[in-house]
Structure formats: C-alpha cells, structure tokens
Symmetry: C2
Subunit: 400 residues, 2 copies
C-alpha cells in the first residue's frame, strides 16, 4: 500500500488523539486528509478546511484510501463502515457497539469487496488483545479469555474497595475525571464489556455470538452490604467478562461482577486500567495489562492498525474455519451470590442447590448453584430491581 | 505455504514439548518428519525411525520445508540455521545465544535467500514480546522495554525475598525443580537476560548491538547484607534487563540487579515468571506477564511461529529502516548501589558523585552516580570479586 491518506470520522477525544499521535510518529507514512464531524460550528484546533459534515466528502474521495471511524453513534458508524468497505476502502474502527452487533456481516463484506477492516482499538484500547488472539494464540490450545475490559466500572470499584468511597462518591469522581460518561449505564451495566467480549470471542474461539444471547449484569446495584461481605471474605468485587471453553464441543461466556481472590492476576488490576488473562492448554496463563481507554492510548492502538494496513495486514479470521469448533452453550452451572431486597429472589430464581441463605434487617442474600440459562431466562424479572449478583468462581472457571 | 513438514533439531525439554504441542493442536497442519539428535543411543519416547544424528538427513531432504532448531549448542545452531536459510528453508529457532551473536548476518541471509527465520520463543517463552514489538508497537512511539527476562534468577531472588531462604538454598531448590541448570552461571550472571535483550532491541528500536558492548551484571555475589538493605528500604532486588530511549538521538541498554519499589509492575513478577513492561509515548505502559520458560510454554510459542510461517508471515524488521533512528550510547548517568568487601570500590570506580558511603564490620557500600561507560570500562576489575551492584532507578529510567 502506498502513502496512507486518511478520511477521519469523528474528532472527539479519540479523533483528536489520532491527529496528535500521527503528528508525533515521524515514521508513519500517513496523513489525515479530511475529517467528517456532526457539528461544523464547534470550535476546532485545526483549520476549517480539514472539516466537513458530509460523509461523501470522504467516502467518494478517490484520494482517500483509508477510513478511520471513531464516532459514538453506532448506527451511523455501521453505515459509514459498510459503505467504505463496499467501495473497497480499508477501514479502522473503534466502535465496539457497532462491531459487536454487525461483525458477521462485516466479515462477509471484507471477503466480498477485498477491503480490510481492523479494530484492535475497540477492545481494551492500547492492549493488543485482538491482534494477539488472531495471530499469536492462533491455534486451538486456547481455553479461556477473562478480564477487566471496562475502565470506568473498574475505577469505581477500586475507589469503593481500596479507598472506601461510597459507590455514589466513586461514580461522581469517575465522571469528574472523565473516566465515566454523564450517563454511565453503558459502562456500569456491563454493555461496554459485553461488546468487547463479543469481538474478542470471534478472535479467541472463532465464534460470533450475538450480544443479546449473553448474560450481562452490571455493578449499579452494589450495596454497602455487598462490599462488606466481600471484604470479610478477603476478595474484591470486579466486573469481569469471560469466555471459557468447557470441552472440545462447547464454550460459555458472560459478563458479571465476580468475587476475585488476591491470588488472581486480575485482583491487582485497579483504577481505570484493563487487564486480560489468556489461558491455554500449554502456555498456561498470559496476563496483559494496560490503559484500556483514553485519548492517546486508544489513538496509539489506531495507529498500530493504520500501520498494519500499510503493510497489507488483515485479520485472517482463521479460527472461524477451524473444524470441530466448540459451540456456545448456556447449559453451565455457576455458583453465584445474590443480594436482594424487595424482590424475593429464592422464589424468582430456580437454584440447583442453595449453600447459604441469610436474612438480616439490612440485607438478604443467597449463595447457590444455578444454570446460566436460568439467569438468562429470568433476567427481565430482576432487571432494574434492587438485586446484586456476583459470580463465585468454581472449578471450571476457577483458574484465571 | 502447503502442509508443513518439520525437520526438528533437538529433542530435549523443548523439542519433546513441540512434539506434544503439535499432537494436541488438531488444527495445526504440520507434522514432524525427522528429528536430529546428538546422541542416537539415548532411549526415546518416539520410534527410532524418527531419529538421525546426521543434519543432512534434514537439511538435504526436499520434503522438509521447515527447520525447527532447539538445541543448546550455539555454534551448532548457527551452522544449522545458516545452512537451512541458504537452502531456502524457513527456520524457527529458540537459541537466544546464537541469535544474539549472529542476528545481523541472519537478517541478511533471510533477505538474500528469501527464507524466513522466526524466533519468538527465544525471548520470554510464551510471552509474545518480539511479535508485538515488531507488529503492534511497530511505530516510533516506543520509549522503553524493561523486564524480568530470566526465570531461574527470578525464582532464586523470590525465594530469598519472599521466603527468606538463603541464596545457596534458593539456588539448590531452583536446580532441584529444574528452574536452574547444574552450571547456573548463564542465568544468574545475566547472560540469558542479555541475549534476550539484544534480540528484543532489534525489534524494539531497530538496532542490533553486539552483546559484548552491553554492561551485564548478575546476582551471584548477592549477600545477606544486600538483602537486608533492600528490605529496610521496602524494595525487592530483581535482575532487570532494559533498553531505554533517552532522546530522539540515543538509547541505552544494560542488564543488572535493580532495587524495585512496590509501585512498579515488575515488583510482583515472582518465582519463575517473566514480566515485560513496554512503555511508549502515547500508550504509557503495557505489561505482559507469563511463563518465560519450560517445555510446553516454550513449545507453544514455537507452535505460534510454525503457524505464522504457514500463513507466510515473516518479520519485516521495519524499524531497521526507520530514518532518524536513535543510536546506542553508554554515556548515561546511573545511580547505583555497590556493596564490596576486599576490593576497594571507591578507588576502583570513578563515581561522578557519592551520596552515601557506609563501612561496617560486616559490609561496606557506596551509593552514587556513575557513567555507564565507566562501569563497562572497569567491568574486568570487578568481575569475580565479592562485589554486588544494583541499579537505583533515577529520573529517566524511573518510570517502569
């Protein structure tokens, strides 16, 4: 590929970071030609001639051979990426929501039109998870990918555990520091982690599972009593996303709070950091740790994708073509802690067995074994209620 | 590349691990055709028809399209790898000593004959350091690679610090567990780390620096008093290898014990594990952690290289061709701790400034600033003496 001429969609935190990173990297033979933004009237740090609000100024510009898309609107991102690929333009995307919802189609489009789509920045910012799963752990020895994929919720939980803030204070602080959005639900309800997990699973096990099929539970209902319980047991509560191969035939995946004991690598992933454990049959556990978000860390990951395209790199999606691939199952026994208040959890959730049940004036909880499929079946009955769920790792997932 | 037919040199710990890993990976389209060993009379777990002691049975066999070399003899490894490349055969090598000494020539041979040489297993076993430096951190934002690259010495230091063993007991234990060789000097004197650092630097900064130009100091002279001193300061002593960009024009590198404070990522790299911190201008610090050695972890890394060759991957050595590359310098100020006994260190080493000097009945030490070039100039005067040196990270290297 000759000199890269970039059409950039989005000039917010990440978009302006890309401009900055390209400026710093003297050896990157790439320049931004045009930037498409939603609101042309906003004051910008670059001269006005760079900007447009018409996507066609990029998509129909034959000089532009790479589209970089870092906008928040998933539907608009989908339209842009699809249309760029259809015109044979390579694309770098950071939109996890869009990718998690359309990855199957976007893989087909790449095959059909020959253009490449890279998106390492979409999952864990500057940690090269996807590239390593695709290229280095490109065999069938992989057993598990488990990690803290969302910096906002992790920051909040760290404040709560390490600095004994209240949840409300921690959330406010995260918002003030820019680690959490004004509407934090995308992060704290687990959807950010979920979408990253969907993308990771395509490259980990060669399976695309639609987000709505995956159990996802966040941290917004955490109480003082949950925190006290965890402290008593000398564990931290972390929001953990995981995909685990159970046998040669099946794997499972979910996002939920987890009691993490100090011996686990992810125990020490604090504040806004991300950490991912990759476990395989022969290499045991590899731990990758770094900044999962932020302007420059994400932009540096985008730069890696840009330079990879310059060297004609594309994801091979090799594992999609493996024979004997494992299939997604929710027929998996988990051990969970459920703290509740008004909703009578023991009558709502059908536990296989109950190990502990506690009813106090301040809190009630039950600990027991349950099928993941049961959690999925009942998720609408507990959503929005004052109910907190945490996974207690058992045998098959007890090895992060 | 069609089905991979492997000629394997070496069937020790790693060689037999490769056989095992290939057997486990159902999707690896590769098989071992012939195995060359030094001693045909040793009892083997595979049938005799696999084995030969004549390298030509592999090198001259047109059916074999990949040579995998995991032998301990660096000179023999060099002859094998060179001769395989000259015949256009791709090679996977795990011989860090050989690679560190001949990498410049081996890069030329790859260019000349078109065959590819991969060696990710040579540095940090299953941690994909080289591949990530080459492909993901393939830009000029990289500032530093710093890590614990040798499992044996780290195991010994962990026993000493965390389990309060004596150095002698810890070494014996490491040998019993197979973490250290009978002659442990290669590991504990820092040469294993040095050779890995030389290889890493080629892919980190595009510079090949001959091992003998690099200051290397090991842990074999560590005393109770050094350990007590470190404990008092709440730091651990780790054997650290590092390459650090000092400016756009220059970088430095060395291997020596270091006082590591608890806030550093590598502080928590204990026992036989390896940990590497990659620091860049925009992505800050990435930390990679895993098993750096052992039969199956190393073999799984070799499998990654084998599968990469199946997809026509080769190292691009892109950074070797960057313009404005930084050059190696030893004109760098370090702050070090030197504990000595008979050798009168203050009269041997020319310190720029001395911060502390202590003379007790049991031990003497000096802490001060010194040029790295001075340490290199005087290394023969202190080698083999009862002198222990540790780096105390200052400003420019104070950010791992």
């Amino acid at each position: 590929m000759s000199k890269i001429k970039i059409g950039l969609f989005g000039f917010g935190v990440v978009g302006s970071g890309i401009y900055e990173v390209l400026r710093k990297s003297k050896n990157a033979d790439a320049e931004i030609v045009k930037i498409c933004v939603a609101d042309l009237s906003k004051p910008r740090t670059l001269e006005a001639s760079y900007f447009t609000d018409d996507p066609q100024d990029i998509l129909s510009n034959p000089e532009i051979n790479l589209v970089v898309e870092v906008i928040n609107d998933a539907d608009a991102a989908y339209t842009i990426v699809k249309s760029a690929l259809e015109r044979g333009k390579n694309v770098v995307s950071g939109s996890k929501t869009m990718l998690a919802q359309h990855l199957d189609e976007l893989i087909e489009l790449q095959n059909k039109y020959g253009a490449a789509l890279l998106y390492d920045a979409s999952s864990c910012g500057s940690i090269p998870v996807i590239r390593n799963l695709e290229e280095y752990y490109d065999n069938d020895l992989l057993l598990e990918v488990k990690g803290i994929l969302n910096g906002s919720s992790n920051y909040i939980l760290s404040r709560v555990f390490d600095h004994k803030s209240s949840y409300a204070d921690a959330l406010r602080q995260a918002q003030e520091l820019g680690f959490a959005e004004k509407d934090p639900s995308f992060d704290i309800d687990g959807f950010d982690s979920l979408f990253k997990l969907v993308i990771i699973t395509v490259h980990a096990l060669g399976a695309y599972v639609r987000p709505e099929r995956i159990f996802t539970y966040g941290i917004s209902t955490i109480h003082e009593s949950d925190i006290s319980y965890a402290r008593e047991k000398s564990v931290k509560i972390k929001l953990v996303a995981q995909v685990v191969k159970i046998s040669d035939e099946s794997f499972t995946m979910f996002v939920m709070p987890e009691f993490v004991s100090p011996s686990r690598y992810i125990y020490s992933v604090d504040d806004e950091y991300n950490g991912v454990v990759i476990r395989g049959e022969c290499y045991d556990r590899q731990f990758m740790f770094g900044k999962g978000a932020g302007s420059l860390p994400t932009a540096s990951s985008i730069l890696s994708d840009i330079m990879a395209l310059q060297h004609d790199y594309r994801y091979g999606y090799k594992k999609l073509h493996f024979h004997d691939k494992p299939e997604y199952t929710t027929d998996v026994k988990l051990k969970i802690y459920v703290r509740y208040n008004e909703t009578d959890i023991p009558s709502v959730l059908d536990f296989l067995s109950v190990e502990e049940q506690y009813t106090g004036r301040e809190s009630k909880y039950v600990i027991g074994e349950i099928l993941l499929s049961e959690l999925i079946a009942k998720r609408e009955s507990i959503r929005g209620k004052d109910v907190f769920i945490a996974n207690i790792p058992m045998f098959f997932i007890n090895r992060d």
